[in-house]
């Protein structure tokens, strides 16, 4: 019995173990939806294609699997683009399937036609436009293999309608043949030896870790390695969750809004061990001023990351899981109490980062995040949007389980949080999923409340509302002489009324009093829940590094107040 291309596609997805597809139907992808109906795959219908891609990302990150999203041609595909780019920047394994107009119509500006392959070329690990129905099983197999191996990333499969409708005679499980795709897994022995020597000699080493550790599922090995070598650990936004936030060797997030201990450890170190991170500008500040006295060992699975943003003396290309195993095997335990003691005063600086003289009853995002840490014991799955709340979550959520901080790091995509929470809760139905968001980000994909309602997902949305794009306001404060423009949102809806329209449990916090009790009740709710936290638009994220400065030049609350006083004079 012959099957259609669409049926072959869906069968190939089943063979890849796909359980859930986040998709939005339309004309060009009609045949695929027909085949999907008869399959074992569950289809989730978000309220926009962008949300479908973010949900697939949240699902992939929670389940350590390939997330799958689907859209029709034209606007369906272009709406996916932001989600695909988000996944690309954060190295999230994803396969996006898009419908396309029939091959005879391609290039004619047909209805809902867009050059999906061309548009997604720079934001995918690889992409396909299928031109022969018999290629479908091979392409699906390749796409999943490419998406999840090496440095993970999104792969797009664009399938014209007539190709999906035509009979497919090819075998469903063809052999993989990718002569140009051979990721390096085993680190070079002599470079590993060099790294071992450097670590043994180092007096003040620092581990600078990123999302690569999570992608390799090497969190326990990293912790073991840090403990055995007594090396303090700083993390990028993407690496949050690798280390228990309360681990004595953990110094927190580094970078433009990093903790003093993390930034100063990097500044003072003599050996920087970069693992699965990429010297992103938000982490490094000025590159010449980043770890200025250190020898750099850079370990990454992507050779192109080595030497791209910052030079390194010992590059090791390979799978961090294998390399850490080798390092653990090759190295003796070590004592570095002197170096760790040297860092203690910087840890204490943490108390001076934010204003100290505020009204104790004033509600702040950081107090809410600290309360959430206590209530959840750091075990919740946390998704965030992008803005001040994201930095607050990164700084104050004391995560205790790896891979549970789901945030858009590289692209900084507002609208990611709630959609990713839908994916995360689908992947982990019995876990507490919290979406930390702000009024700006929330409104970008607010319609996902309907998806959550439909699927009965008990997501807890913590909405920090200051009727303002406060991180942009903060930038205008620093760089535009406090000439605020285009950042206020006086037209915001009554979010509580809005949430009620979706049958949500709702809570509103305006002061510190009873804050923790209210949160405790909200988080133990088994319903889709909104907690609106009304905060001040004037609150800022500290510390911050001015453009072009090094990460040891942190502006903290006290200095900021002095600067302001000067400005007023």
């Amino acid at each position: 019995m012959t099957i259609t291309g669409a049926e072959a596609l869906v069968k190939a997805l089943e063979m890849q173990g796909v359980k859930v597809v986040f998709g939005y139907p339309g004309g060009a992808i009609l045949p695929v939806y027909r085949a999907l109906k008869d399959s074992s795959i569950e289809h989730i219908l978000p309220r926009s294609e962008q949300a479908a891609a973010h949900a697939a990302s949240g699902y992939a990150r929670t389940n350590h699997t390939v997330g799958v999203c689907m859209a029709t041609s034209g606007p369906g595909a272009t709406n996916l683009v932001t989600g695909i780019a988000t996944a690309y920047m954060d190295s999230i394994p994803m396969v996006a399937i898009t419908g396309q107009v029939s091959t005879a119509m391609v290039g004619t500006d047909a209805f809902q036609e867009v050059d999906t392959k061309g548009i997604t070329l720079p934001i995918t690990k690889h992409n396909y436009l299928i031109t022969n129905t018999d290629d479908i099983p091979r392409i699906v197999k390749e796409a999943f293999h490419i998406a999840k191996t090496g440095r993970p990333g999104p792969v797009v499969i664009d399938i014209p309608k007539n190709i999906a409708e035509a009979p497919c005679k090819a075998k469903l499980d063809p052999p993989l043949d990718l002569p140009g795709y051979k990721p390096t897994y085993k680190g070079h022995p002599s470079q590993i030896k060099n790294a071992v020597n450097l670590i043994e000699q180092a007096k003040r080493p620092v581990l600078y870790i990123g999302g690569g550790i999570i992608n390799a599922q090497a969190e326990p090995l990293l912790v073991q390695f840090a403990e055995k070598q007594q090396i303090p650990v700083v993390s990028t936004l993407m690496g949050i969750g690798v280390m228990d936030a309360n681990h004595p060797l953990y110094l927190g997030m580094l970078g433009l809004h990093g903790w003093p201990a993390a930034n100063m450890a990097v500044n003072n170190c003599d050996l920087l061990l970069c693992m699965g991170a990429r010297f992103d500008d938000r982490a490094t500040g000025s590159v010449p001023g980043f770890a200025p006295n250190a020898t750099v060992v850079h370990i990454d699975i992507d050779p192109a990351e080595i030497g791209k943003n910052a030079p390194s003396q010992v590059p090791i290309v390979g799978d961090i899981h294998m390399i850490l195993t080798e390092l653990l095997h090759k190295m003796e335990a070590c004592d570095r109490s002197g170096w760790l003691k040297e860092l203690e005063p910087y840890r204490a600086m943490r108390d001076k980062v934010y204003p100290q003289d505020e009204d104790p009853n004033k509600l702040t995002a950081r107090a809410v995040m600290q309360a959430i840490s206590r209530i959840t014991e750091g075990k919740a799955i946390m998704t965030t949007d992008v803005g001040q709340h994201q930095m607050t979550a990164a700084q104050f959520y004391e995560i205790q389980k790896p891979g549970r901080f789901i945030s858009s790091g590289g692209l900084g995509t507002m609208g990611y949080g709630l959609s990713a929470a839908v994916g995360a809760q689908m992947a982990a139905p019995n876990d507490l999923v919290i979406c930390i968001t702000g009024d700006g980000s929330f409104q970008m994909n607010m319609a996902e409340l309907a998806t959550a309602k439909e699927q009965r997902l008990p997501i807890k949305v913590i909405l920090f509302n200051n009727n303002c794009l406060a991180l942009v306001r903060q930038l205008q404060d620093t760089y535009c002489d406090a000439e605020y423009y285009g950042v206020f949102m006086p037209g915001n809806p009554d979010f509580i009324q809005l949430a009620k329209a979706y049958d949500m449990a709702t809570y509103r916090l305006t002061e510190n009093k009873n804050m923790e009790e209210t949160l405790r009740e909200a988080l133990s709710n088994d319903k889709l829940t909104l907690v609106e936290c009304v905060i001040s638009e004037e609150d800022m994220i500290f510390p911050y590094i001015r453009n072009g400065e090094s990460i040891n030049q942190m502006v903290m609350a006290e200095e900021e107040m002095k600067n302001r006083a000067k400005r007023k004079k």
């Binding site: 061309g118 070329l121 690889h126 436009l129 002569p179 140009g180 050779p303 192109a304 791209k308």
Partner: protein, 163 residues
Amino acid sequence: MRHTLSVLVENRTGVLARVAGLFGRRGYNIESLAVGTTERPEISRMTIIVDGDNNVIEQVMKQLHKLVEVIKINDLTGEEYVNRELILIKVTASTEQRAEIMQIVDIFRARIVDISGKSLIIEATGDPKKISALVEALRPFGIKEVVRTAEIAIVRGSQLKLD
């Protein structure tokens, strides 16, 4: 410094766009690019001339390697290799000038491939310096049109393997 990269790619639609797009969006300066099939029909060779310091060239090669359809990259710059361009030049030539032009053509081991009343078409192959020298030698006669290919290159002696 100018580098000559010999890149083996899968012979599929869209590969050229992928490679050319990469140069554009990463801000690399591509001087010339030639594509053609190899002794194996499923594989094409691109000869890419790119200008940049060692860091830039290293990034170019690494980024090219990341493309799934790129099989192998060789930087020929440090090696012994033969490189050639092909040029077609239409030059103004009155009957009196023809002898002089033919002399130049002989010196450069070029060929005259078409003659009309007022012009000649000259075909030449050679390394880029020779081709440029020929163009300069013919310029005084009045060059009407030049069509020049990108450079192709091959390593002397032992052959580059495809796998």
